[in-house]
Assembly symmetry: none
Homo-oligomer: 215 residues x 4
Amino acid sequence: MKTRDRIIMAALELFNERGESNVTTNHIAAHLGISPGNLYYHFRNKEEIIHSIFDEYASDLRIRFQPQAEFDATAESLLQYLDAVFMLMWRYRFFYANLPDILRRDEGLQGKYMAAQENLHQNMMALMESFKQGGLLDLDDKELLSLTNTLKLVASSWICYQTTQAPGAKITKAVIYQGVLQVLSIVRPLTTDKGRERVLQLETHYMDQERQDIA
Amino acid sequence: MKTRDRIIMAALELFNERGESNVTTNHIAAHLGISPGNLYYHFRNKEEIIHSIFDEYASDLRIRFQPQAEFDATAESLLQYLDAVFMLMWRYRFFYANLPDILRRDEGLQGKYMAAQENLHQNMMALMESFKQGGLLDLDDKELLSLTNTLKLVASSWICYQTTQAPGAKITKAVIYQGVLQVLSIVRPLTTDKGRERVLQLETHYMDQERQDIA
Amino acid sequence: MKTRDRIIMAALELFNERGESNVTTNHIAAHLGISPGNLYYHFRNKEEIIHSIFDEYASDLRIRFQPQAEFDATAESLLQYLDAVFMLMWRYRFFYANLPDILRRDEGLQGKYMAAQENLHQNMMALMESFKQGGLLDLDDKELLSLTNTLKLVASSWICYQTTQAPGAKITKAVIYQGVLQVLSIVRPLTTDKGRERVLQLETHYMDQERQDIA
Amino acid sequence: MKTRDRIIMAALELFNERGESNVTTNHIAAHLGISPGNLYYHFRNKEEIIHSIFDEYASDLRIRFQPQAEFDATAESLLQYLDAVFMLMWRYRFFYANLPDILRRDEGLQGKYMAAQENLHQNMMALMESFKQGGLLDLDDKELLSLTNTLKLVASSWICYQTTQAPGAKITKAVIYQGVLQVLSIVRPLTTDKGRERVLQLETHYMDQERQDIA
DNA sequence: CATGAATGAGACTTCATTCAT
DNA sequence: CATGAATGAAGTCTCATTCAT
C-alpha cells in the first residue's frame, strides 16, 4: 500500500480510538514508523488528512445509498442497507463524535459536508418513498419527512451516544446491532402489515446477531 | 455577581460558542478582564470549571424531571416539560457536542455523568409510564422502553446535529422548536386518540412559536 | 503565642518537612489558618521569614557553644554539648539541606551566616583546646584545627547525608544518635587514655539511647 | 557535538553554577541558543535531563572505583583515586548540593541513587580492607567501617560545605586540594608507620598543588 | 521519497506579593 | 490586625509545521 493511503488509514484508526484532537501528526507518523517530515510530504497539513478521510467517507456514502433503479425491498436488500449505514457510522465514528469542532475550523469541509448531507437526504427520501410506494410504510408526506430526519439523526448519533453512556467501554458489534434495532423500533409504528412483517424478520436477524456477538 | 460565578458563566458561554477544547483558561480570564492567576484562585484547573458547570447542569436536570406526585398531563404541563428539556439542551449545548472527549479525560466526571443519566432515565421512564397509564400512549412495555431511549437520544443529539447541518449558522429558538416538533413526530404514531389530540395542541403551539421567532 | 512567632514556627516545621523551596507562603498561611495578607502584615516577604528563623538559629548557636569560664569535661557536660549540637542540626535541618540555594539568593543572610560560622569556629576551637589542655586529646595544633573542621563538617552534614541515604525515610532520633557515634569515632583515635575512657562512656550512653529509640 | 549532549553539558554547567531548581528548561535552551521546543524534542522533561546527568555520574563512579584485581597502594595509585573522587565531586557538585530536593520528587532517581551508593560503599570497603591487608592501616573492623563512612560523608559534603563557608566565592582547585588534605588528616591517625609515610607523601603533593593553584 | 532535528506560539499552571476593605 | 481576592511574571510542556540533507 502507498504511504499516502497508510497515513489515511492510521489517522482514521487513531482518530476513532482517541478522538481527532487527541491525535497529533507525530502520533500518526510514529504509529506508522515514518518521520513527521514524510507525513508532511504527503499532506500539506492535518486538515488535509481529515479532508482525505472525509472524501473516502463521502464516496462510500454516495455509493451505498445510490437509489436502486428498480425498487427492491426484499429482506435481503434491506439488510444490506442497514448493515451499510452502520458500517459507515462505525468506520468513520470519530467524525460523528467530533463533527462540530471539525467543521467549525474548516470552512472547506463544511461545504463538502453539506453537499454530502444533501445528497444523502435526497437518497434517503427516495428510499423511504419507494418503501411507501412498495406498500411497506403507511404515512403521509410530512410524516415521511419527519421519519427520514429522525432516522438520519438516530443513525448518525447512535455510536457517539453509546460511547457516552458507557465511557471507556469499547463499542462492540452488539452495540451496533442494538442501534439497528433502535432504528427498527422507530420505523415499526409506521409500517403496513406487510412492512411490519419485514421489520419483524429484520429484528429477528439482528437479535440473533447480537446474541452471537455477546456470546 | 461573584467572580467565581462570573467565571462559570463566561466559560459556559465560550464553551458553547467555540467548543470546550478551543477555549483556554486564558481566553476565559481575558473575556472577563481578570488575570489568569485570579481564575486559578477560584478554580484549581480547567477541569474544575467544567465540573462546576456540570454540577449546575445535573442539578437542573434533577429538579426539572422530578416525577410529579400526581399525574398531570395537561397541555400546559407537557409544554413545561418540553420547554425544560430543550432549554437544558440549549444552555449546556457544548457539553453534548464535546461529551466523548470531555468524559474520556475525566474519570470523575464520567461517574457523575452516569449517575445523572441513570436518574434521568428513571424519571423519563416514570413519565412515559404515567402517560401510558393516563391513556395518552398506546404501547407495550418494550415499545415504551424503546420510545424513551429514542426520545433521550433525539433530544440530546438535536442541537449538536443541527449545528453540523448548518455550520456557522447560529442556533436560533426556531431550531429548538423544530427539535420539539421532531420529538412530537416520534411520539405521535404511538398515541391514543386522546394522546394524539394533545400532541396536535402542542404541535400547533410550537409551530406558532417557530413562526414568531423566524419573523 | 503571637501570630508572628506562630508563622516562624510553622515555616520552620514545613521547611524541614518539605524543603524550603517547596513551601509557599500560602502553604504557611493555610497551615496556620490565617490569610496570606496577614502573613505579609507580619513579614515583608519570604526572605524575612527565613531571616527570622536564622536569627533564632544563630542565637541558639551562640548560647549553646559559649566557652565555659572554667574547664569542665565531665561526661555529663560533654553529653550536654553533643546533645545540643545535634538538637540544633535537627531543629534547623532544612537549613543545612538547602544552604547553598538559600545563601546564593540572599546576600544579607550570607553575612549573618558567615559571622555565625566564624563565632562557632572560635568557640569550637576553644573547646577543643580546652579538651587538649585537660588531657583528653593528644594532638598538635595543626591536627587540632583539622579535627575541629572535620567535626563541624560531619555534624552539619550528617542529617542531610542520612536523608539522601534513605530517601523518604523519616529521620528518627536513632539516626541522630548514630551521628553522635560517628563523631565520637572520629575523635577516638586522637584521645589520650583518659580521653578514650570518656569517649567510651559516651559511646555506651548513645548506643543505649539508640537501642531504646529503635525499640 | 550532538544537541542532546550539548543540552546535558549546558544543564550540568548551569545546575552547578546556580543550583538545579534555579535553572529552567528555558534557561538551558537560551544558553545554547536553541528553542525550548528543541530541548523537549531531545528530552521529555527536565527530570529526564537530570536522569541523564545522573547516569553519566553513576557510570563514572562505577568505573573509577572498580576494585583493583591486585592490591596496589603506591602513592601514584592513591593519587589517582583521590583525584578521581574529588573530580567527580566537582563535576557533579550541583547534585550534592541539591540532593534532598532532587531525590524527594523523583522516585526513579532514588532507586538509581541508592544502587549507586550501595555499589560505592562495597568498593570503598574493599579498598579500605586492602589498605589494611597491605599494612597501611591499623584498625579493627568496626573502626574500618566508621572510617569508610566518615570518608564518604566528608568527600561528598566537602564542596557543598565549602560553598556555604564562602558564598559567592568560586570553588577553585585549591579548595578541592584542601578537601583531599582534610580527608588525609582523618586517615592519618589510623595509619601504620608505613601508611603514615604514604600519607605524608600525598600531603606534600597536594600542598604543592594547592600552592601552585593559588599562585 | 524520506529523515529527523528544529521552531515558536501558546497552553496550563504556580506563587510571591499587593491592596481595598 | 486581619481578610481574601487579585495580579502578572514566569515555569513546564505540546504540537503543527518547516527545512536542510
